[in-house]
Amino acid sequence: MTHLLEVSGLSVRFGGVRALDGLDLHLDEGETLGLIGPNGSGKTTSFNTITGFVLPAGGTVRFAGEDITAQPPRHVARRGIARTFQRLRLLTELSVFDNLMVGQHLTLDHGIWANLLGRSRLRGAIARQTDEMRTLLRHFSPTLPDRLHEPVSALTMIDRRRVEVCRALARSPRLLLLDEPSAGMTPDETAELMRDLQNVKAARPSLAVILIEHDMAVIERVSARCVVLDYGRKIADGSYAEVTRDPAVRRAYLGEEADA
């Protein structure tokens, strides 16, 4: 049985720096994986390489049985992989709705007839999408659905983070890559976002998620399995309890005094 995502021997170099050094990673349908490690350990680079933003120096990425190594981002997106960015990349001058519709790009009809001439299909599509997106936003906040037509620049940080996650969820991806969704948020806000996300996951049991995080408490709450990176290498792979007991992880995370 093949895994949904299989990364093997993935290496990335930036000049002389080995950002990723032979990373092996696999993930099954419906699974949640926590990707952890200190700053600069290659977490975001692994996302960027899987999604085609960074070209690997070696190794392969297979998704749903097909080789997607070094394919451009838009082709990777087509296969059902969606991601968020650590520093939010929302189109802040556009409305919440428009941002979510960017996430829906591949499902929308961009034809000349629907958009320029007939327009009744466009009207129907907009009504349908409005309902769908309100339902999606409601998972994350009771007030966001009412702010669908406000510009993102009018939202608070946590609401923007929610919109970014919803944009990635909009097209019902098979694999969701969340790049440190807790960055810039309070522990309470993070806890809330994680709980909402698990509600979404409960409704979409086949959705696989990889979560980058360096707050171990967040990982403990959501992940069945963790992979720990350090200097571009995988130093541990297992349940939260196993990984946190691992001496290599303790050394990487807590510094040398963990040995004492």
């Binding site: 189109l91 960017v102 591949l106 958009n115 466009l122 669908l148």
Partner: protein, 385 residues
């Protein structure tokens, strides 16, 4: 969102009336004092009106009464042309303004929507103009077909130009368009089949057997300028192009173009093909520029390399920015200011450019978003969504 309140139609009608009145007043102003007063009053009205929230009131009003306002706008255009029917020079200026707006609509799609800077808009108009001139003199194609063909040829040349740039980022596209704009003029000047520096004569427009270059005579007393018929045709072309550009904006197409302009990298993570959208926008914009150029050639009956300079391209770009980048409606007041003002201020000779430049800088200082800044997208204005 509930049903939006239906606003009264009065602000929309008042705005159309004011716009038509200001256009007429500016075109008919005789002394430079009149011109200065009309221009300053118009600009002041836009600036103060924008601050005071008239813009929002007008916008709501237009949104609630789409059909009536667009019918009124067409009618207002026809009335302006009718009132100018015996003023040859003023009609020619109005026609020129409309063609600049048409080319500006193309630039709006390219620069305002897709974020592709085009420093060769005048050169692309030139491509359309020369295509039309050659086709009209050497083939028997119906003139409507010629005008459309000029647009298509211009779009094709533009997209060929952009193709090698697909793998590059940043300002390369801008540099290429600058190079094209300058090369185009040199190419024409040394090309004897295209008339060299002397240019080409262009025959008058004929549509369904009607010759546009003959004065419209009713009896010995009344005679309308032949530009009246041209202005009528241009209003129709401009109205269609405006509607098309608005629909591009208010659709998934406009959203995709915005996404490519604002953050192509993030957009690609959701499957957007940035290069394809840029090419599409660039081609569509050049199609409109080519049509504007073809109509310009026919209108002036004569084209030469000096009609399509780099300076003219900058003028077109300044119209788009002055009007409010990405707002097709702002093109009209901006083109009036940019085209008519220097023409009307000829009495003060070189100083007119100084004055004109100062005015443009002043407007952009007071209102960085332009005379009529772009508004947030509403796919179907006035309807609850």
């Amino acid at each position: 969102m509930g049903t939006p309140d239906r606003a009264t139609i009065l602000p929309a009608l008042a705005a159309i009336l004011a716009g038509a009145g200001a256009t007429l007043a500016l075109l008919l102003a005789e002394t430079q004092w009149h011109v200065a007063v009309v221009a300053l009053a118009g600009v002041a009205a836009l600036l103060i009106g924008g601050r005071a929230g008239f813009g929002d009131a007008i916008h709501r009003s237009v949104a609630s009464h789409q059909r009536v306002t667009s019918a009124t706008a067409w009618l207002a255009g026809a009335v302006v042309v009718f009132l100018l029917r015996e003023h040859n020079f003023e009609l020619l200026m109005l026609c020129t303004v409309m063609l600049y707006v048409l080319a500006g609509l193309g630039l709006t799609v390219q620069f305002g929507f897709a974020g592709v800077v085009n420093f060769a808009a005048a050169a692309f108009m030139g491509v359309g103009a020369y295509t039309a001139a050659v086709l009209m003199t050497s083939t028997g194609l119906p003139h409507l077909v010629v005008v459309l063909a000029a647009g298509v040829v211009t779009a094709l040349i533009g997209s060929v130009l952009l193709l090698p740039l697909l793998r590059t980022r940043g300002h390369y596209a801008a540099l290429i368009t600058i190079a094209f704009g300058i090369l185009f003029r040199t190419f024409l000047e040394v090309n004897d089949t295209l008339g060299g520096p002397q240019g080409l004569k262009v025959p008058g427009l004929q549509i369904f057997g009607y010759a546009f270059n003959e004065a419209i005579e009713f009896d010995d007393e009344t005679e309308w300028s032949f530009y009246t018929a041209y202005a009528g045709v241009f209003i129709v072309v401009l109205g269609l192009a405006y509607t098309l550009v608005r629909r591009v904006e208010r659709s998934w197409m406009g959203l995709a173009l915005d996404a490519v302009r604002l953050d192509e990298t993030a957009a690609s993570a959701f499957g957007l093909n940035g290069a394809a959208w840029k090419i599409a926008a660039f081609s569509f914009g050049n199609f409109l520029a080519g049509i504007a150029g073809a109509l310009y050639a026919i209108l002036t009956a004569f084209i030469a390399p000096a009609s399509f300079t780099f300076g003219d391209s900058l003028l077109l770009l300044s119209i788009v920015i002055l009007g409010g980048l990405g707002n097709p409606l702002g093109l009209l007041p901006a083109a009036l200011v940019v085209v008519v003002l220097p023409e009307k201020l000829q009495v003060i000779q070189e100083y007119r450019f100084l004055l004109f430049a100062a005015l443009v800088i002043l407007i952009l200082l007071l209102r960085p978003g332009g005379l009529m800044p772009r508004r947030a997208r509403e796919y179907f204005p006035g309807r609850s969504s």
